[in-house]
Symmetry: C3
């Protein structure tokens, strides 16, 4: 089964099983990521109280940790939930939003990577480079540049932390220690709406909940999300407000057949 | 005056009086519930600091408590605001989001029900069943099933807590200890957008601010909200992003005459 | 260069320089203000942890403080960030949301005005009047809509605090101690969507990041934002959900030429 077929099969499984996705995420995108989750027929739950995160993750099929508006108390909750997810064998996705922009963000990302077994890290090139020890510039949550190519950043990160990494950008790169995928789906309008990266996290988590291979899950999720972006751009043109609306419509409408025929994935060994 | 006529009269009163609705609600739906409030010409205020909730509720016409992303500190603020609302005779609406999914949610809902006189509880079947002592499954914030029919759950809850209860679903059920209303307005798309239940809370609160009978207020609000959902579905088709936009348009456009002619309410005594 | 030409030049500078705008704002409008920021090609960052706000503001070009869902801990973070912005010479915009409604809001606004050098305060007439010490009379004046009242409020505020003040309403008033501008752009639909005032704050901040004169920055920003509101109203009609979507489209599409020809600004000396 090629990667596009596997992505299609994963999407069909999500739409059938309706996995519960527990997100501990930032205050800016909570509604948007919950709606993205619901659009692909997964069920969103947001919960960040240390008093309940372990119990909540116990009924979930995947956990998303996103540090976009972090405080130390929220990182405590993320670590608790992550450790419990590890005990239960539930995949954990980390988005190190703004790692490299402030010491708190870099340190908190490292703390989570050290204390929780992360299945997939999804971030931009600057964030991932910073955590891999490669000099990079991160302005707020925007990647400005790094002293290495995206392939090298991904490979270095994957070998340092022993997990799958997905770097999103004009071309998305997914790597574990053995292979690299280049995903050429997507549209420039995805960068004109706040939180599309955060939305992609819950799609990645949904795929990881039905596909035991994190690499395949990340590849399938990002090609599916990118395709939805292409569909939304066709429906809305150069208008970010309309594109945002159409992105939900596309995530809801996109079918396994769309993914099987439209996924643009190139695989290579490292 | 029949229930549809009373709903229409209540909506007219809201549009004229523009009541201030104070919400202490979850982080996922704050913007959406504030916009829903504004669309029916009520005025939204969000405030959760223990230092000010009592003063803020003093200028409000109704209070909404929603535990969707609860922490113990937020429950403290809800209890303070609720007690002050009780002193002032302002109706309090409680949405026990996720009661049954975690101990914290079940316990916090019970704590609020014990310490604050709630006018109307609005939730799904699983949440309400859990609080009424009927076994039920709640997955995150989704009701999966309960060991009793919705009518029985509603009747048991109303008699246990002595307040009006509204269980929303394909058919909405409202009950106090004396009568039951079945509201058949609404559209399946309401389940495809995050926070429509939370939006319905502020509509219920707005109706309760102009109608001294909690049962009539809940019935009127849910038929009005359901009708707006029908109007939105007609305008948007099977597209959740577009439906979300059209739902605000419909809440803004819906008139007392629309409600008088379109409300689909069946009443019966218990 | 007249005020419309200056507004156009400022907008062109924002679209070219992509300034980073750090907001510590309320939970209701975070996504909306971030998207408004991005639509005019500035970059949004939200960060409120006391552990990082000083470092984050160090890479920003302007800082927005908005007390809409304040707690004392958030005000601490705002004060820290504001003081650091002052050291670095970065403009600080304050929105005293709800000043006058509760003691906490009035006191917190005054605390920020006393401890941080604010470049521009943006609020409604009642909030600004309260802080200028003329609350009761002003509420009465506001209810009968006297324009002379608003001028006096603005002048009193500007002379009390020595900063630029922008009072938004049907006609926006901007004043420092020397001059007053009346901006007649905008549309009544801006009052039918939650958070448009908050969105205008980040537009003001973006202008202040490229224009060293706070008065000119506020005038340019509010005429640009008002014009975008006019464009959105034309595209959407009397529908708040659609207007909200079109407002982002308009903020993204609006050009320096649109501003140069459409800005409706009247200037006068005090």
């Amino acid at each position: 089964m090629g990667p596009a077929q596997r992505a299609a099969a994963d999407l069909a499984a999500i739409r059938e099983k309706k996995p519960l996705i527990h997100s501990i995420t930032n205050l800016v995108v909570m509604n948007e990521t919950a709606n993205a989750t619901l659009c692909i027929d997964a069920l969103p739950i947001m919960s960040h109280a240390v008093e309940e995160v372990e119990e909540m993750v116990g009924i979930a099929s995947a956990l998303v940790l996103n540090i976009g508006t972090l405080t130390p108390a929220w990182i405590d909750a993320m670590e608790l939930a992550g450790k419990r997810a590890n005990e239960l064998g539930i995949p954990v996705i980390l988005d190190p939003v703004g790692a490299g922009a402030t010491k708190l963000r870099t340190d908190s990302s490292k703390r989570l990577l050290e204390n929780v077994k992360i299945s997939i890290v999804r971030g931009n090139a600057g964030e991932v480079a910073t955590l891999a020890g490669i000099a990079a510039e991160v302005r707020g949550v925007e990647s400005i540049g790094a002293e290495a190519g995206t392939d090298e950043i991904a490979a270095r990160f994957a070998s340092t932390y022993g997990c799958t990494v997905a770097i999103t950008g004009p071309v998305d790169i997914v790597s574990d220690c053995k292979q690299i995928a280049r995903i050429s789906n997507g549209d420039a309008m995805l960068a004109k709406v706040v939180g599309t990266g955060c939305m992609s996290n819950v799609i990645v988590a949904s795929f990881a909940s039905v596909d035991s291979d994190p690499f395949s899950a990340a590849v399938g999720a990002l090609s599916t999300f990118g395709l939805a972006g292409e569909m939304a751009a066709k429906a809305s043109g150069d208008k970010p407000g309309s594109f945002h609306v159409e992105l939900y419509n596309a995530l809801y409408a996109i079918s396994p057949a769309d993914v099987a025929s439209g996924a643009n994935i190139k695989m290579s060994d490292i």
